[in-house]
């Protein structure tokens, strides 16, 4: 009963997501660690759903990671963002979709600050003209790429080859969803479902047959903390936050963790390895970790994409237990191969975790 009540709160709180015609902007962390996820996003939206998603090589970082590490002033970040928005306008778009949650949060903050302080907005427009000779603009609609996959979740389900269901028992898989903090903690109205009951990933899990795990530390930060990870001596901060989340979710025996932030899947994947090596502890069964994936990787698996085309070989925690449960075929021989089967050797095998 209580769960149904919560579901109602989740589904009541929605944001407007235009159906088509977007200017697409990439994420620095995701290009480095999950480039195939961005490729899957573009393939799904452009080729399967026939949407117009435009990308230009001229866009850059939004500066968000440097800004949240205090390495650049607010005015610098805002002018870089104004440049991104100006490119959107230059290419004839007014809907803006970004791949990064840090960007998304910073865009929300920036647009809100411009609304509140028109003088500042004018100054940024001047900066933009002086530095780039570009015309200032703000998006009519700003969305995160996960908002779009959420919007199309039922269409994806209609094309599904596999479901988030144990193909042997027919039982739904237990899925933890982890939402990037900057998705809606600052501006709850900008995220699907708000900050307390964000539905963006839960909606995908349900549409694709899985069961959402509700656990005590569900909304706790993964621990990225920007400077708390980039500087070696601070890294314990990052590790201890991930550890806290895993200890909290462990009793629920999740089959999968799905995320919508660039850093979270990296940290929740890699810190499982560090915990295994230092504490001898693994959170999956038989020495495995719990696979951590991006929403595009999960959408791709549901749609029947090859796991190695999706880049699952570049995760430290092997996806095999999940693939086996979902009944997805894969060729272990191909896992670490380059293009056209080129031999690239393979990573050192670990004893502490698989």
């Amino acid at each position: 009963m209580i769960y149904e009540g919560k579901q109602k709160i989740w589904s009541d709180y929605q944001k407007e997501i235009p159906d088509d015609h977007y200017f697409y902007v990439r994420s620095c962390i995701r290009q480095s660690f999950f480039p195939a996820s961005e490729a899957a996003f573009l393939h799904i939206t452009r080729n399967i759903l026939n949407k117009d998603i435009f990308e230009t090589e001229h866009h850059t970082t939004c500066g968000g990671i440097a800004y949240h590490s205090d390495a650049i002033p607010q005015e610098t970040a805002m002018t870089i963002i104004a440049r991104q928005f100006a490119l959107m306008k230059k290419y004839g778009y007014e809907n803006y979709v970004c791949s990064c949650i840090t960007s998304f949060g910073l865009y929300c903050e920036t647009m809100e600050t411009w609304r509140e302080f028109p003088d500042l907005k004018e100054k940024i427009a001047e900066n933009l003209w002086k530095s780039c000779k570009l015309e200032f603009a703000v998006p009519k609609f700003l969305v995160h790429a996960s908002d779009m996959i959420y919007k199309y979740r039922n269409q994806i389900a209609a094309h599904a080859k596999f479901k988030l269901v144990d193909h042997k028992t027919g039982k739904p898989l237990k899925v933890v969803e982890h939402i990037g903090c900057h998705y809606s903690k600052m501006f709850p109205s900008k995220g699907v479902g708000g900050a307390e009951y964000p539905y963006v990933l839960a909606g995908m899990i349900e549409a694709w047959g899985g069961e959402v795990v509700d656990y005590p530390e569900r909304r706790h930060c993964c621990g990225f903390g920007f400077r708390q990870y980039f500087v070696k001596s601070n890294r314990g901060y990052s590790l201890s936050n991930t550890y806290k989340k895993f200890e909290s979710m462990e009793p629920y025996e999740p089959d999968l963790i799905i995320t919508n932030c660039p850093g979270c899947p990296y940290f929740m994947d890699r810190w499982q390895y560090v915990i295994a090596e230092s504490e001898g502890k693994t959170y999956g069964k038989n020495g495995h970790g719990i696979p951590v994936m991006t929403y595009e990787e999960v959408a791709g698996l549901v749609l029947g994409f090859d796991p190695w085309d999706l880049g699952l070989q570049t995760h430290q925690i092997g996806p095999e237990p999940l693939l086996d449960k979902m009944g997805i075929p894969y060729n272990p021989e191909e896992k670490y191969k380059g293009k056209n089967g080129k031999d690239l050797g393979q990573p050192r095998q670990l004893d502490c975790i698989r």
């Binding site: 620095c28 290009q31 480095s32 480039p35 195939a36 961005e38 990308e55 230009t56 001229h58 850059t60 970082t61 990671i65 440097a66 590490s69 205090d70 390495a71 650049i72 002033p73 607010q74 610098t76 805002m78 600050t113 302080f117 500042l120 900066n127 780039c132 900057h182 903690k185 600052m186 709850p188 900050a195 307390e196 930060c221 990225f224 920007f226 400077r227 708390q228 500087v231 001596s233 601070n234 314990g236 901060y237 201890s240 936050n241 806290k244 890699r270 810190w271 390895y273 560090v274 190695w308 880049g311 995760h315 430290q316 191969k337 380059g338 293009k339 080129k342 690239l344 050797g345 393979q346």
Partner: protein, 231 residues
């Protein structure tokens, strides 16, 4: 000289992030940093709103303002719509502007952050760039990154990226004309000034300690001497 509080109030993040704080401590209860470090965002917000110059100066010189992870979890929960995370960002900026950041171990880390992150932005157009992310400094990135680093081009090609390539795509080479625009943005908005200021202070310190630039970088990157932790 202009009061520190008045300088803080010029920061839009403070103007947005500080209404009357009622000292309820909700921010501290939700804060991941407060669990790990000896850190209490409630106290920081309270000091700022007290306008006590001496206490604000102490904050700017301390490790405390550098403990926050900028997750913004506190923003959702504050009953007065304060944003302690934004207040911290304003304090950090002022700490850099005044040079006080050099007086704390965590503040001195600005050198590493500016060098790495601004370097990536200006040289490549990305905050994080794989050729500058080394397994040697990031063993936690796992054996899979150790392997990937050895085969960067091949792995990115396999995954459909356009590594260093022309035109759009993941990890494309961002055209020089666009990088020049980023540089101009840095020059006119205080980005370059911050980088230079941090570097100059760091090099002065390195000289005092008799360290080369690389030795100083490594010291700042790894040093953890302060009584930072809760446990």
């Amino acid at each position: 000289m202009e009061k520190l509080y008045d300088r803080l109030m010029k920061d839009y993040r403070l103007r947005e992030g500080l209404n009357a704080c009622i000292n309820c401590g909700t921010c501290t209860a939700i804060c991941p940093a407060a669990e790990f470090y000896r850190y209490d965002p409630r106290r920081i917000v309270d000091i700022v709103q007290s306008k006590d110059e001496a206490e604000i100066e102490k904050l700017l010189k301390s490790d405390v303002i550098w403990y926050c992870g900028e997750c913004m979890s506190c923003v959702t929960r504050c009953p007065r719509k304060n944003a302690p995370g934004l207040v911290i960002m304003a304090l950090r900026s002022l700490s850099i502007d005044t040079g006080f950041f050099m007086e704390s171990e965590k503040g001195r880390q600005m050198y590493v952050l500016c060098k790495d992150l601004c370097g990536n932005v200006l040289n490549y157009g990305y905050c994080i760039y794989p050729r500058e992310f080394h397994y040697k400094g990031h063993e936690e990135a796992g054996t899979v990154w150790e392997w990937q680093e050895k085969h960067l081009e091949d792995v990115y090609e396999r995954l459909g990226a356009n590594f260093d390539g022309e035109g759009p795509g993941a990890l494309r080479k961002i055209p020089d004309s666009d990088l020049a625009e980023l540089k101009r943005i840095f020059d006119i908005t205080g980005g370059t000034e911050r980088m230079e200021k941090v570097k100059e202070a760091a090099m002065k310190k390195a000289e005092e300690l008799g360290l080369s630039e690389e030795e100083y970088f490594n010291k700042v990157y790894t040093e953890c001497k302060g009584a930072h932790f809760n446990h």
